[in-house]
């Protein structure tokens, strides 16, 4: 953490854990992925000292691109303080010694699971997504050879069947996470389980977007300023989630809100899922309606509330 000393990895480990040859192999896959936006590139995924559910694909991508000058931010469900985020951040701090931050605008690399930060990413930044299942066509075609062919020939019509079925069952497109997108007008892509709320942020994003799937050994990418369109129907256009509430803490009405249970009697409140965004807004003097009465002293102190599902 000392800015005056050159960042180094813990004794006995190579910088960023992976050996240089593996990093070069992953970088080659990343370069291919950037050259063909949205196209999945196989890579020789390595065993990592974390289990697959922790996002080893994203961790390997970050390990391959991180340099000594980088500043890393790690989020899970939008928050920097969740177990997964803390543990990955700790891993990279030990294995690289580079600076870490919770501030989106100060990070050069953002590794994420399940969210894109509310603060708009800028040129020069890289966002790395942890991907559990990379293949958008898997639900309708279990054979890898066939999905490869479908991508090769851009045979994506059947993908709309899935959205059609949503409307049949729920009267609207119910898919809320990992909502399929068309990249650069050519490749169908899974954006990883981010809420569809975040899909519009991917479109023409100034930052480089990299996706790593460890178990399935795939890397894909969206270069800066690339078109990313969410699939929809003319009479059921793509829409993002909206809330009747504002964030109880910072009053934001345009961020993705988590509903949290605040006390034993089941009272609920809505707060930003992006903890950095929420904290920055409060630091600037924005205020929400406050947490409901009965919420513990922690809320009054402005500490992050306990999250649903953690």
């Amino acid at each position: 953490m000392n800015a005056m000393t050159e960042p180094v990895a813990e004794d006995g480990y190579n910088f960023a854990f992976l050996d240089e040859q593996t990093k070069r192999m992953i970088r080659r896959a990343i370069l291919k992925a950037v050259a063909i936006p949205g196209h999945q590139i196989p890579f020789g995924s390595r065993e990592m000292p974390l289990s697959y559910g922790w996002g080893t694909g994203g961790i390997q991508v970050t390990a391959a691109v991180i340099g000594r000058d980088d500043t890393l931010k790690v989020i899970d469900q939008g928050a920097d303080d969740t177990t997964n985020a803390v543990s990955i951040r700790g891993f990279f701090r030990r294995m690289t010694g580079v600076a870490t931050t919770e501030r989106t605008d100060q990070a050069t690399i953002v590794q994420t699971r399940h969210r894109i930060p509310e603060t708009r990413l800028a040129e020069g930044q890289v966002i790395v997504y942890q991907v559990p299942i990379p293949e958008p066509l898997r639900w309708l075609e279990p054979r890898e050879t066939e999905t490869c062919k479908m991508h090769g020939l851009a045979e994506y019509g059947a993908m709309h069947v899935k959205l059609y079925e949503d409307i049949v069952r729920y009267g609207r497109i119910e898919t809320a996470y990992d909502y399929p997108v068309m990249v650069n007008g050519r490749y169908l892509m899974r954006p990883s389980p981010i809420p569809k709320f975040d899909n519009p942020k991917m479109d023409r994003m100034p930052a480089l977007q990299l996706f790593g799937a460890g178990r399935e050994k795939r890397i894909y990418a969206v270069p800066p300023y690339t078109s990313v369109k969410s699939l929809d129907f003319e009479d059921h256009p793509f829409e993002v989630e909206r809330w009747e509430h504002c964030c109880a803490l910072c009053g934001s009405n345009d961020s993705f809100l988590d509903e949290i249970v605040v006390d034993d009697s089941g009272n609920r409140a809505f707060v930003c899922s992006d903890t950095d965004y929420c904290g920055e807004r409060r630091a600037q003097g924005h205020q929400g309606a406050g947490m409901p009465a009965g919420y513990g002293q922690a809320a009054a102190d402005g500490a992050a509330p306990g999250r649903k599902g953690d």
Binding site: G157, A158, V161
Partner: protein, 258 residues
């Protein structure tokens, strides 16, 4: 006006290892015609159909198809992207087992609409209406449009598979034992439906069947296959009433004795 065949198959051969399943088979299919291919199991008729329909690579031969746009193309030599596009727009394939031709857990409407979506149709209301129209055409209660076919009877599943194929108004439909596995009364209804649809749509069809009764009801013309080769061909009534080849005579007589 001189009509040209919509499909010309020449010298089609397919081997499985040392065994030749289909040897030098050729035939023509004329616009609006239903061609039956009959033979016992192992005669090569289904292999022939799969090769013609691009579901199985052929070792040799040509499948010349006169496209809606005009020019004739060899389906076996066509670039894969073009071939697959033709197969899902101008051609149809009805499997013996509806399980192979349907998405059982996708609604009936989604099944019928899939080909339209593949062609770029992006209006849910119109897709669902097109599905409803086609369900009526194949005599499925239109109230079932949102139900998944897993719960449908075998006959309904088969009718749905036919609707799913016909929705893009294909010019050629290949059918592999379309009435196989159905009980007799359900078969009769499906045959009536197929006869009507073929007449109304003017589609050209190749129907593979081991059932000479089905062949007589549906086909204008028949090919008889044995051991991977065509042993006799001709107009259905002539061929079944006055078979020339000894094998055809045997088939006809054994069919009568059943």
């Amino acid at each position: 006006m001189k009509e040209q065949p919509i499909l010309e198959v020449r010298d089609l051969t397919r081997r499985f290892g040392l065994r030749t399943a289909v040897r030098d088979v050729g035939f023509e299919l004329w616009p609006g015609e239903v061609l039956g291919i009959v033979g016992e199991s192992g005669s090569g008729k289904t292999t022939l159909l799969n090769c013609v329909g691009g579901r199985l690579p052929a070792d040799d031969g040509t499948v010349l198809y006169r496209t809606a746009a005009g020019p004739a193309v060899d389906m076996l030599a066509l670039a894969e992207a073009k071939r697959r596009r033709l197969l899902r727009t101008e051609w149809g394939f009805v499997h013996q087992n509806p399980r192979d031709g349907l998405r059982l857990d996708v609604s009936a409407g989604g099944n019928v609409g899939e080909r339209l979506m593949a062609l770029g149709h992006r209006h849910y209301g119109n897709l669902r209406q097109a599905a409803i129209d086609w369900l009526a055409q194949v005599e499925i209660d239109t109230a079932r449009v949102d139900d998944a076919p897993r719960a449908f009877s075998g006959g309904m599943q088969q009718r749905l598979q036919i609707a799913r194929n016909l929705v893009t108004h294909p010019r050629v439909v290949l059918m592999d034992e379309p009435t196989g596995g159905l009980d007799v009364s359900v078969q009769a209804r499906l045959l009536d439906l197929l006869r009507r649809l073929v007449r109304e749509t003017g589609v050209s069809a190749v129907i593979v069947t081991h059932d000479l009764g089905v062949a007589r009801l549906l086909a204008d013309r028949l090919l008889v296959m044995k051991g991977g080769e065509v042993v006799e061909g001709g107009l259905t009534d002539r061929l079944l009433d006055d078979p020339h080849h000894p094998y055809t005579q045997l088939l006809v007589s054994s069919a009568l004795s059943v």
